[in-house]
């Protein structure tokens, strides 16, 4: 009676179910690869079935229980599935553009993905200032090393390429996005003065369209074009150095009415005056947070160790033997040919 009640539960440990769930996961991956609209469910459902199957297999399948290496491998697979789920709940991905001389503000971060258990409050504890950066280019406009200097409590850190800035569990990676920014000051006729910056598109990727728009506090639309003094060399090596950023600003106040300003120059507009203060550069970062990364790595390695141990015990000491009748039949056919 008890045994028959256990049967349906034991079937959850079936190797055939493992095969079906793995095949379903494969189908889900292929479906998501070619049609990305429903990717999460197509992967999550087979993974959930696999996790349940794994759990029961570890309890009921003597083959797994009695092979320490195989058991270790399967426990690690289950742990990886749990860690992936935890990662989805607690992780965060974002991007950020920060200008030279600017202090990090969590409001600048554009959140791309945020797990329901992730609080962005921790970002408020991060303090750093973007300093100068250099990006090397070689012939054919191929990007080389990026050296981005950050100031943290008076200390200088250089990050870039394979080296992120780690703080409070968040990782800031430099990206290929970086460009010019112009500092502007507005002096209204009402006596109010404000200062801010306009970021232009990524440079040198979009060196041919360094355009942006801005509405003055008086409501006038300005079409701006930044004209860099830095020439993009296609056939030689060069360096983009933020400390040497320079250029002029072309402002279109009305269709066909343009004026070019140099740093320090002012332009009279409706309701006030605009000053082009100086040229700076901005650096683009991707922001990543996943507190389970180290666990992922450790569990993966332990799993591979388990698998290796299993194969070492299984294959290392065993002589190659006949496996199935079909092979014997094949051999028989050959030998009689």
């Amino acid at each position: 009676m008890f045994q028959s009640a256990l049967k349906p539960i034991q079937s959850l440990a079936s190797l055939k179910l493992s095969f079906v769930a793995m095949a379903a996961l494969l189908a889900g991956i292929l479906y998501s690869y070619f049609d990305q609209s429903q990717s999460v469910l197509w992967l999550a459902i087979p993974l959930l079935v696999l996790a349940v199957n794994l759990l029961f297999a570890m309890v009921y399948n003597p083959r797994i229980r009695q092979n320490s290496g195989l058991l270790m491998f399967h426990i690690c697979l289950l742990a990886l599935a749990l860690l992936a789920a935890l990662g989805q709940l607690t992780s965060m991905k974002g991007r950020l553009e920060i200008m030279q001389g600017q202090v990090f503000d969590s409001k600048q971060v554009t959140v791309v993905q945020q797990g329901p258990w992730h609080s962005l409050q921790a970002l408020n504890k991060i303090v750093f200032e973007q300093s100068d950066f250099q990006v090397d280019y070689s012939q054919g406009l191929r990007r080389g090393a990026t050296h981005s200097q950050l100031l943290v409590n008076g200390e200088s850190f250089v990050v870039g390429d394979n080296l992120p800035f780690n703080h409070q569990g968040y990782r800031f990676y430099t990206t290929s996005n970086k460009g010019y920014a112009v500092m502007l000051a507005w002096f209204g006729k009402d006596g109010k003065a404000i200062q801010g910056a306009i970021h232009f598109p990524s440079f040198p990727l979009y060196d041919w369209k360094q355009d942006n728009q801005w509405f003055t506090p008086a409501g006038q639309l300005l079409n701006m074009t930044f004209i860099s003094n830095k020439q993009v060399a296609l056939n030689e090596s060069w360096q983009l150095d933020s400390s040497q950023a320079s250029g002029s600003l072309q402002i279109e106040t009305a269709p066909g009415v343009q004026q070019i300003l140099k740093p320090g120059q002012r332009l009279k507009l409706q309701g006030g005056e605009l000053e082009f203060v100086e040229v700076r550069m901005w650096m683009g970062y991707s922001v990543f947070y996943n507190p389970w990364l180290v666990w992922f790595f450790a569990v993966s390695l332990v799993g591979v160790f388990g698998l290796t141990w299993h194969y070492y015990l299984k294959l290392g000491s065993r002589k190659i033997v006949t496996r199935d009748t079909d092979s014997v039949r094949a051999e028989h056919v050959i030998n009689n040919a």
Binding site: L15, K16, S18, F19, M22, A23, L25, L26, I29, L30, S32, Y33, S39, K93, S138, L141, R142, R143, G144, A145, T146, G160, D161, N162, L163, P164, R171, Y173, T175, S176, S286, F288, N290, L293, F296, F297, S300, L301, G303, V304, L307, T308, Y311, L315, I320, V321, T322, R323, D324, D326, S327, V328, A330, E331, V333, I334, N335, A337
Partner: protein
């Protein structure tokens, strides 16, 4: 491109093709494998190694970037892994019937591609690249030998030839092919792990389902499925051989097709 580098490469291609002909002639005319076959594999692998070394010295970095780089490095690494297998696991030698033509085809394919070296992106300047690529090559080398054995077994099963009588028993070759697949599974797992660590450092994410990651995972999953299927059901041996061939084809697609047909971080684009 240096003339000497080119000369050693073409010499390697010629020797791999010669070795293929010697091997197949032995099967067709039912002759035992001559010692010149082993010697020719050694010479072909050595020539490929010299060609890579000269290219490395000229470019200043290893063969990681272009399709030619990858094909040339595969010619050397897969040839070297197979050479070790050929010398250490004597009973796996029948695999050479399909491994050598495949290496020859790979070499001829390389000869048709653009051989000019390109610069290494900054994110590739890490020891993780060496670990990732290294374990990946070992996986592919083991998978290649398993593929060779599976292809020989399928041929033996469907086209009886007198030359097959010199080979070890079908069951023995079958068991050996699956052993290579099992060890390949371990190395593929290591490749995925080291790749994830590298991707985290290089692109700020450890897994993003980009084309190469997706196809590498599909290969891992199908390999896992094959190993599972073999213990779950008493499949006919030929079905197992077909599964090994499928896994190898997926691996080749992942290594040589996807990185050069998709736009993604793995391509090293700025």
């Amino acid at each position: 491109m240096l003339e000497a580098e080119k000369a050693f490469f073409y010499f390697s291609v010629a020797v791999f093709i010669t070795a293929t002909i010697i091997n197949w002639a032995g099967l067709i005319f039912n002759k035992p494998l001559p010692k010149t076959l082993l010697a020719s594999i050694i010479v072909a692998v050595l020539a490929a190694a010299i060609s890579i070394t000269l290219r490395w010295l000229q470019a200043g970095h290893g063969p990681f970037m272009t399709l030619y780089d990858v094909l040339l490095s595969n010619l050397f690494t897969l040839g070297f892994i197979f050479l070790l297998t050929y010398m250490l696991v004597v009973r796996s030698r029948p695999a050479a019937l399909f491994v050598l033509p495949l290496l020859s085809l790979m070499a001829l394919w390389a000869a048709t591609t653009d051989m000019a070296p390109v610069l290494l992106p900054e994110t590739y300047a890490t020891v993780l690249l060496w670990i990732h690529v290294g374990v990946g090559k070992i996986f592919l080398g083991l998978c290649l030998t398993a593929f060779g054995l599976a292809a020989v077994l399928l041929m033996r099963y469907s086209i009886p030839m007198a030359g097959f009588k010199q080979m070890p028993a079908t069951t023995e070759l079958d068991e050996m092919a699956w052993r290579f697949m099992a060890v390949a599974f371990v190395f593929h797992s290591l490749m995925l792990i080291s790749g994830a660590v590298w991707a985290q450092d290089a692109w700020g994410r450890f897994w993003a389902w980009d084309s190469l990651e997706t196809w590498a995972f599909i290969t891992w999953l199908v390999l896992g499925l094959s190993l599972h299927a073999r213990v779950t059901w008493s499949l006919p041996a030929w079905a197992g051989w077909l599964m090994i061939i499928l896994v190898f084809m997926l691996a080749m697609l992942t290594f040589l097709g996807v990185p050069f047909s998709s736009i993604g971080p793995h391509k090293g684009i700025m």
